[in-house]
Symmetry: D2
Subunit: 456 residues, 4 copies
């Protein structure tokens, strides 16, 4: 039995996008995926439909490495779907790159999935017992199997498949002339739809629309399945809808700063959390430093409310791509810093508020605090612009087990000691709630757990 290494509960980050019925659809998709590149830099792929065939092109690497002008300049696509992904240990195989193609005599289709299937292992074991083979361990391959293992028209097969799937996910499925877009019924994972020049754009984040003059856009509702056909576009609501609750971490650090949810930008929400955090501040320090880059909005607002200078006391090294040569651990010990460094002239002798967006395992925060102290900071007060993460994510967004979550294992005081800082404070859950523009899933921020009506 090698099941341990087979399918992880924890899922890799990813983003999906699609174009239905637009000229140069492969080129439009390329630019959409570019705006989603922050969701995954390890691999990407694109399936292109020209009305009679579906072709796929995918590989390891950044979009700009995988796709060259020769692919885009064919200009044959009338529709296309794409995927960007972050690899994690044991799933970086070529077979896990999406789109997954199903080449059936009945008709080819390509599928891209973002999210997490909770009962993936059970479903896979069940299907394996029926003789099905899994070449990789992606959710896309699982869903493809589940769809094909049913009978009837493709629409019916998709319907049946979604009934078996437990979890939070979105997918786009494309045949040579149709497309299906689905957002799972818990609504944890987002998916957006825009009109564009008579056709449609679909993406995990609204930032993907930003390079285009889109006429209007909306979020798919939880449990909504849209079928884009030659003649018409129809929307269906599958299954019983649970209350739609977007994952709160989208606001904390997944989404790009300019992405919108309910027409509120992520930047706006982050500023609110920073301001809220500042209002409870009891410690006096000299300046505010942000953990680069996602904590910037919160830190700026935090500084503004406290009327303290916001300073660039920590710098993240850019231009680090897949070919960058990281210092070895020996070299790090010799004082070569890797991704981050503290600016001594700014923090030396100063009392520093370090604002970070969240605290999961705590290792990055620990490193940042250490850098600040080494650079001469007299005091470091860590401020987290979101609540304590105390439970493992149901939906597998976080790559951390229950007993690896720093805020679950330690009290605030213990944390301060472990991190070697002078104080640690989190945004409280109700405060955080007040900053969000909608009701969100905060399961990981609560000890008591409940999902799909059943306590676990």
């Amino acid at each position: 039995m090698e099941s341990g290494s087979l399918r992880m509960n924890k899922q890799s980050l990813s983003g999906i996008a699609g174009v239905f019925h637009a000229e140069q659809s492969e080129r439009i998709l390329y630019y959409m995926m570019h705006s989603l590149q922050h969701l995954g830099q390890d691999g990407c792929g694109m399936a292109i439909a020209d009305g009679s065939h579906v072709m796929v092109e995918k590989n390891h690497g950044l979009l700009a490495e995988v796709f060259k002008e020769d692919v885009l300049s064919k200009n044959t696509g009338i529709s296309a779907v794409g995927h960007v992904r972050m690899s994690m240990y044991l799933d970086e195989a070529l077979e896990n790159l999406q789109p997954i193609m199903v080449r059936a005599h009945q008709g080819h289709f390509a599928i891209v999935v973002s999210g997490s299937i909770l009962n993936a292992r059970e479903l896979q074991e069940e299907m394996e017992a029926d003789g099905l083979i899994f070449q990789g361990n992606s959710d896309a391959e699982l869903i493809a199997h589940l769809i094909q293992f049913n009978h009837g028209h493709l629409f019916e097969k998709i319907l049946s498949a979604t009934k078996r799937l437990v979890g939070s996910y979105t997918f786009l499925l494309m045949t040579k002339n149709t497309m299906y877009a689905y957002r799972s019924s818990d609504g944890i994972h987002p998916l957006f739809l825009a009109s564009y020049k008579g056709g449609y754009l679909l993406a995990s984040e609204t930032s993907a629309f930003s390079m285009f003059d889109v006429e209007e856009f909306r979020s798919l509702e939880a449990g909504e399945l849209i079928r884009f056909g030659k003649e018409d576009v129809r929307s269906f609501f599958l299954n019983d809808r649970a209350q739609e609750r977007l994952c709160a971490m989208e606001f904390v650090y997944y989404a790009r700063m300019d992405s919108l949810f309910e027409n509120v930008s992520v930047h706006t929400v982050r500023k609110k959390t920073g301001a809220m955090l500042a209002r409870q501040e009891r410690v006096d320090a000299d300046l505010v430093v942000a953990a680069p880059d996602t904590a910037t909005s919160a830190a700026m607002a935090f500084a503004s409310v406290l009327k303290k200078p916001y300073e660039i006391g920590l710098v993240k090294n850019r231009y680090i791509g897949s070919t960058y040569i990281y210092p070895s651990s020996v070299q790090r010990m010799q004082g070569i810093k890797t991704r981050f460094n503290a600016v001594s002239s700014i923090v030396k002798g100063k009392r520093v508020y370090l604002v970070d967006d969240s605290l999961i395992k705590g290792f990055t925060a620990k490193r940042l605090c250490q850098l600040l102290k080494e650079a001469g900071a007299k005091e470091v007060h860590l401020r987290i612009a979101s609540p304590r993460i105390v439970s493992e994510c149901w939906y597998g967004f976080e790559e951390a087990d229950h007993d690896e979550l720093a805020a679950n294992v330690y009290s605030d005081d213990e944390l301060a000691k472990w991190l070697n800082v002078d104080s640690v404070r989190f945004l409280e859950l109700e405060e955080f709630d007040a900053c969000l523009p909608m009701d969100c899933c905060q399961a990981c921020m609560r000890k008591e757990r409940e999902h799909c009506g059943r306590k676990i």
Copy 2:
């Protein structure tokens, strides 16, 4: 229905190799695959087993492009299997690269296949009806499905699968600690086994052993399945053995010149065909030119028997890799020649015997003849060192339909006219037979067809 584009009767060329229980097995496999690179330059892959896991690495391109020192220097492999392939229209997708991995809870395995499955379409349609998905259209994926769709131990599953498969093929299947090697019961396709430093090497051609001090080697027999286990290596004979008949085209042009069958080198057989062809020569010409490169051995022997000079009247351009920029058709019309060119100073005003190894569709021969005439050859006499190809290959080796085979469509005289040469002559079937070191399949050289006992 897109079945037309789904699965071709015609298979792409490929080669397989494996290493069981040898130190640095990935490195040994790399060099073996290098010696098989002539069997496929479009893609390659390797699966490596370290006793507890099976990993796979594959991509488009030459071996030296896909595998870098970082893969080989891990040195963790105790066994490995690999594949090189030639792509054809509609099957160049990433999903068709081998090894195909099956990541099952019951145990992972990797499979590489070389050859052709005659009932692939029927089997795929049947399995699709059962809800199985095909991501590509490789035989390896088909066989993987067929194996997994059975119950029992892996050995039994393989046994059941081979019973369903009609065709000529060889495969290597590797789990984390075992390996299976199979050569189909008609023996059309070769597979060789060598002892090496306490372990074993397996390959489509003996040339793959040439870089190593192998202790001894033998051909797998037709229908032979070998199971390499931790404790022992056992050989089984599956199914009823048809008379073993290797594909005659191995000698004509597939195999590398130094490869051995029944301890006779391919070069030796080719010389015999050239000499045999010479003995029936009735036309007097001035010099002998070979179609580069596979006809060299035959042409040399032809010249030697006739006591005519063997000259380099046609040259093939080397250093042409996947990144080489081919002249466009316009440029060709302007006189830029592509792969071949004729040496005017050698052939001008001369009567030339052009010896080629075989004649399939005839387009390359037509081009070579035209080049010779343009370069000033007074006469061109085309001599084919193998019999007329008159029937479509049962086993899908040739990428030609029945009515595309020049020697089937035309008589020798018509051929001479179509090729615009002064005469055309083939080696006759009995003559060819006399050159071969064993009984071979020559179905494509005979009009009447018979296979597996049933006439078709």
Copy 3:
């Protein structure tokens, strides 16, 4: 005469760095150059001295593309110098990559130069008349010629060369066992020196030291030449020192936000300019948007002083490397935006302050203003956090001619009209002066010009 295409007055941006006597000097240099990558992404190079030889490695591309582990892992370097560069039209040739090597029987040396030589054309013409050849048109090749064309010891030759050079520049020159660092006497261009583990680091910006535990660092003084020898390190002051005046644009947009000048970070200066700009604000608007990315610090401070929300109304697309496929002009017309896009939900119906760091030709600002208006901004008020650029740069930093400078050609009102915005305002010269931590060169911000004592 092709002189027009030969040598430009305008220089490309670049950065230099060096390591003298440190273990793994090539690796240290790699990380230093990484922190200077913002100064040039088109090409880079490194010369490495091991005590008996000087080797060079350079090519087009980012650092991570040109240098692979095999170069760094040799670990033979005891000293090294490097260069990153931005190419401009007509100077992207391989011959312009630095370091420039001089392989003389008397001894090899490598040189890297950053800056601009005013009398380059005259010097080149003069040397050409003496029969010297120029393979490229880099200042490094020019200075190498000038040094070698003199007699005496290397130190004397360098001394003589600097006497002929008019302009603002810094260079590092390395032989197999010595190094020379020079900052020209006007001090326009910066160069910094740090102690590190018994050796020395040198760089165009202090950000290059940020990955290392440097013990202390200082700026080279204007006109200072330092000779690093086996036995000692000695500092000399060449020529008459003009008053040292750093280029003011270092603060405006060249330098990385965390770089320090006189121990003041660039971020701090930029915040001061934003705050200063805000104090004179007479127009009331709803929110503040920064031109990404260099105007962020100024815009934040501007918003803070005015107590207006700072919003992410414009987004710059990242992950754009040398292989990124830019939309063609046709595609841009069809509404595909390239580097920037405006966030409609934030700016629609709003009165927007757009804060930019500077205005040269004005085309980028024009594009940003247009994007904001297209996205629905009711009003756009452009605020420039530095003075009007009204004169061509003496030192060739800017790639703009006198009559291309928007603020020189237009009055503020005309500018507003040309840019199609509701108002334009600059930071006034005295206000800007008050923000700088030192006396800086502001020649481009003044109409009357004076240089080297001579009015022009």
Copy 4:
């Protein structure tokens, strides 16, 4: 003094080609250089003139790696010159890639050189004393300096330069609208000229013309300088012509088999040497094996005369490019063979004639003999189809010093012992002479030395 590492007597192999006044000249040049790729696989470059500018593109690697469609598809070139090169220790720097560009105000030019300058060190030292810098150590840079260091028109400058140069070389020099082609007065190195569609092609070997319908071609005469101008093409004979003597090694192994000298193919000459060698054979053996690949023609003829079978007993591994991973010395000791391997089934128990084209240091021959013995050959008789190389090459073609030349150090019997073979025999000098179509330089095959009239 580092002069030892500065300039080698021994030159790297290289080939040059040019196109004057032809449409798509860059594309034509690409295909010509392709046919010269055997002369150098380590780097290549091309300069393209469009009538008003000269551009250059060069880098390390094969032609197909350095030049992509984007360069060729510009189609702006009306003339072009190119270079392929083999790197040797200490000269693999980027600065040694050709063409060398001279970007002078008086006019740009590009130069490519093949051959060897005997007084290069003296000339460089002299020019360095005059203050000139050498960035690399290529002859092209040296000649460029020598030309520019003179006064007058370009034609006069070239004339003056050739008067100073001692050695054997050919060059092509191109300005924006003219081209100069020169073959040095000793004629050791070849250069060919062909008419093509109203323009001209130039190349080191006639094989470069083979992809084109060239109307006619001739060799440049020794000491001939051709000036290709807008209005006319004129030929001049510079200096006193020594007796033209092509390097005999062109026939032995430099040139491609289909290249022609005096309308005789290299293949024809090689066959004559093999036949000649056979006529003096006194030893009886079983079969003939060629050292791959250059000895094939000679070995075939040798076998034909002796009526012994020609067998493929040694195989060279192809598809070995710059990215191929060579076995380490440890791996070789473990029995992994590198470039060559012996076919045991062919040579086991047999008496083998091993025919090689030449014997320089003897290490490759030693390796081949060892492989044959290890593979079971009962006897190995080494036959060299050219005379003993007993003197260092005047012209630096060979990378071997006087005391490294096996045939100079050892008698034939000693050689047989050192090589561990049963006999060694060379073609005698008079026999070799009789095979050549013209009087050739055989200085390296004679003990007494004479060059340019002076004994040394």
